[in-house]
Amino acid sequence: MNRVIDRRLNGKNKSAVNRRRFIRRFRQQIREAVADAISERSITDIDSGEKINIPARDIGEPTFRHGPGGEREAVYPGNTEYVTGDKIKRPQEDGGAGGSQASNSGEGIDDFAFKLSREEFLEFFFDDLALPDLVKTQIATQIEFKRVRSGYSRTGIPANINVIRSLKGALSRRIALRSPLEQRLLELRQELDQQQAAGDAGAQARRAELEEEIRRVSARINVIPFIDTFDLRYNNRIRQPRPTTQAVMFCLMDVSGSMDEERKDIAKRFFILLYLFLTRTYERIEVVFIRHHTSAKEVDEEEFFHSRETGGTVVSSALELMHKIITERYPGSLWNIYAAQASDGDNWNDDSPLCRNLLIEKIMPLLQYFAYVEIKPDEHQSLWREYLHVKARCANFAQQRIDGLTDIYPVFRKLFRKKAAA
């Protein structure tokens, strides 16, 4: 009457559908949590899952319940000090005597925490940026080994049998095994013919002997199989890792007083997207942060995003520093160099032509790609106009005005298209 069943082999992801529905349902709240998470994360750390907190009240399931107030009488265990009629102070916090009833019926204020997978996290991240689906899948794919054909093997699965190769093998085996026998058969037949031509009685016995031998050799020829198991050859495939490549990404940002937090946040997402793209293409990426106002300085990520300076703006200082770093540390033959510059468009007027020349003559020949974004500029200034010249001269230069998150992607469009065609 008792049955024991092993269910361990049944699917374990019965809740996957419900989990997906939960995430769809609270898209808005999760998106806000993701936005918070992005501002706290490092650029290079963007590519993993994320713990998400949503205020519990946002996802509550309401029922009719009692609110605070009225008379409540409850029984508790472990009385060591009270006698009937004692009056005691009302505890401030829930949890002590008299309070836990309220916390059962009241709303918990704790956050509801759970973990988004890497894919889910990136999906939310991409959502704001209005990436086309093709690009999303392209840069969200995990690095994989490519499987390539590599000769033949003697073992494998039937689906991989290489017919031509196997039959070739069978043919040569048949030839190799048959030819001595056929040679012998030929000799025997010739001798038999001679004997028959001679036709004397003494040869009678010899003829029978020869016929017997011919039958035996023919039988041996006949049992040589058309194809045998050791003729089979299988297509061999090996995992080939992608070619090891490395890239360096320069992040240039104007940190003068006019770059406020909102602009910096847009800039950060812009840098993140470039980084994500590069991680799909290159195995190893270094990121160099250069911030500038009137003078440029190489800093770490923390300082890059979170410190603020005042004063004027001289963009060429950053470009010069970048050029210096490239020549010192990243020789072009070994590194793919990308640069992204974010600014609100301010520059000292006399400096802009200098920037143009620097870029066209010195820097652009070294770079794979240079992306310039102007974040919420009041109006385009000299730098934008000078950069238009650069764009006309160099195919790997992109510039874009950004008023919101959805404007970021067009900067990369060319970059992605190139990749998709490759």
Binding site: R8, V17, N18, P62, F64, G70, P77, G85, G106, E107
Partner: protein, 498 residues
């Protein structure tokens, strides 16, 4: 000397079979009457799945189960929570899950606890016998899931989700507390479902099509209430009377209502059910040890787990989280046996019928005929109140201080017992809300009445949310009136239809 059933902690399917057989033999000696057992071995991930579908082996899809799952998963991964050792389903055969990570001793504990303890409770207790049909529940859940999936394909996931959200908000008010429901049968459900849909729709329309005659208006308003008597089952009332619901929406209301009804006995018998199961795993496994079938190592592991399950921290401990139903239930069950086997004078005074009687018969009677509230009111002994040092505290918001109304002494026993029993009365725990009236001639609004108990108000925030759900189902304005015991309406909360 007899051989042990097993040494070491590894389990195998053969061992599970042998243990089940031995434990079943002992359970038979004690007269436990059970459904056949279906023991399913699952992994921890599958246990999390089972956990988050609130114990339904086949559940329809809804985001709230996903939320549950994420919560369980997060706590489990951080090590804040061990998974329950067992989940057992009130069905025939009775399905119990064993987790593969457990040791042999733990598997035996779960087998005794779930397959013989809970199982016999499901089969014997009057609430389960009256309200649930163990034979049909799996089929019905399957019907429900298929039906809801079909609705999602036909009407879209969003539309179905909205209805389910609203029904879930009212799930606790989807049960008949007094009237016995008709037994479930998936096959009949399926056959009847279509006719019922058509029929119901015509009924509902009829109700609203009736143009009242002039004469009707002359009676006083109280006589024209609809429904004539207040109704406690809000979901049932909506299923039968909501004017704008589509037939498939009515069917979903019905499904949620039926599932709520199925779980209703479990909510009312937590202390008894766990107490009974804990008492029997303790008794059966000790018997196994007495017979020399298991060794000391096995018993130590069992006892270590048993004691942590029945641990009851005092009210002022950091670990206090309310009264532990395992602790209270186990203590009460053991206490009944003690009163039967070695009664004191006090027991003879308080429980003349029980003291000195046959413990198996007495416990069997208790298991069959009570729910938590009445069980505590009937069987909580002064001795146990002393052991647990129970005391009652009154929190009255009109007074500045809390008052200790009773402790474990001669004057206090009855009061403490009465209060503890009330604590397990669902009618006390949840606001008492009933359908009071439908305005049939005016705006079709629905009026509910909250009968206030000891001046405890409704939580205004969640009430507002629930009313929005009610409006979605009802289609017109809904209000809830809070009524004093003397019939005065003291507060009205309303949610208007848009």
């Amino acid at each position: 000397m007899r051989r042990y059933l097993s040494e070491g902690s590894e389990w195998t399917f053969e061992l599970i079979d042998r243990y089940t057989e031995e434990i079943g033999r002992l359970a038979g000696q004690y007269g436990l009457d059970t459904y056949p057992n279906q023991i399913e071995v699952i992994s921890a991930e599958q246990m999390m799945d089972a956990y988050s579908s609130v114990g339904m082996p086949v559940g329809y899809h809804h985001w709230s189960y996903g939320k549950q799952f994420l919560g369980v998963e997060q706590r489990y991964r951080r090590g804040h929570m061990g998974l329950a050792y067992e989940i057992v389903i009130n069905s025939n055969p009775c399905i119990a899950y064993l987790m593969e990570e457990n040791t042999m001793a733990m598997q035996a504990l779960v087998i005794a606890h779930a397959c013989y303890g809970h199982n016999s409770f499901f089969k014997g207790n009057y609430l389960f016998r009256t309200w649930t049909s163990a034979d049909a529940i799996i089929d019905y859940l399957l019907f429900a899931r298929n039906y809801i999936t079909e609705c999602e394909q036909r009407h879209g996931e969003e539309a179905v989700e909205l209805i389910l959200d609203s029904c879930h908000a009212l799930m606790n008010y989807g049960v008949d507390r007094y009237k016995r429901p008709s037994p479930l049968s998936a096959r009949e459900e399926l056959q009847r479902q279509r006719e019922r849909a058509d029929y119901l729709q015509s009924q509902v329309n009829d109700l609203w099509r009736t143009i009242p005659k002039r004469g009707d208006r002359e009676g006083n308003p109280a006589q024209r209430l609809y429904p004539a008597e207040p109704q406690e089952n809000l979901l049932y009332f909506i299923e039968k009377n909501a004017p704008l619901l589509q037939p498939w929406q009515r069917e979903i209301v019905r499904i949620v209502r039926k599932i709520a009804q199925y779980f209703y006995p479990q909510r009312q018998t937590q202390v008894m059910n766990e107490g009974w199961a804990t008492f029997w795993h303790y008794t059966l496994l000790n018997r196994l040890y007495d017979e020399g079938l298991v060794n000391e190592g096995f018993m130590l592991e069992i006892l270590q787990n048993h004691t942590s399950v029945i641990h009851q921290p005092p009210y002022n401990s950091d670990h206090f989280g309310g009264i532990n139903p395992y602790a209270l239930g186990f203590a009460m069950m053991s206490d009944i046996r003690r009163m039967c086997e070695s009664p004191t004078d006090e027991d003879h005074d308080w429980f003349p019928d029980i003291a000195g009687s046959d413990w198996l018969k007495t416990m069997d009677f208790a298991m069959r005929n009570f729910k938590d509230e009445s069980f505590i009111a009937q069987y909580l002994s002064p001795r146990l109140m002393r052991e647990m040092k129970l005391f009652a505290v009154l929190d009255d918001d009109r007074r500045r201080r809390l008052e200790i109304t009773a402790i474990h002494n001669d004057e206090g026993y009855r009061h403490v017992r009465q209060m503890l029993a009330a604590q397990y009365n669902i009618g006390d725990r949840e606001p008492n809300i009933q359908v009071y009236n439908v305005n049939r001639e005016g705006d079709r609004s629905l009026t509910l009445r909250h009968l206030q108990h000891r001046r405890r108000p409704l939580d205004a925030n969640t009430t507002e949310e629930v009313l929005k759900h009610l409006v979605r189902l009802w289609g017109f304005s809904v209000r809830v009136e809070t009524v004093e015991p003397d019939g005065r309406v003291i507060k009205t909360q309303e949610c208007r239809a848009v």
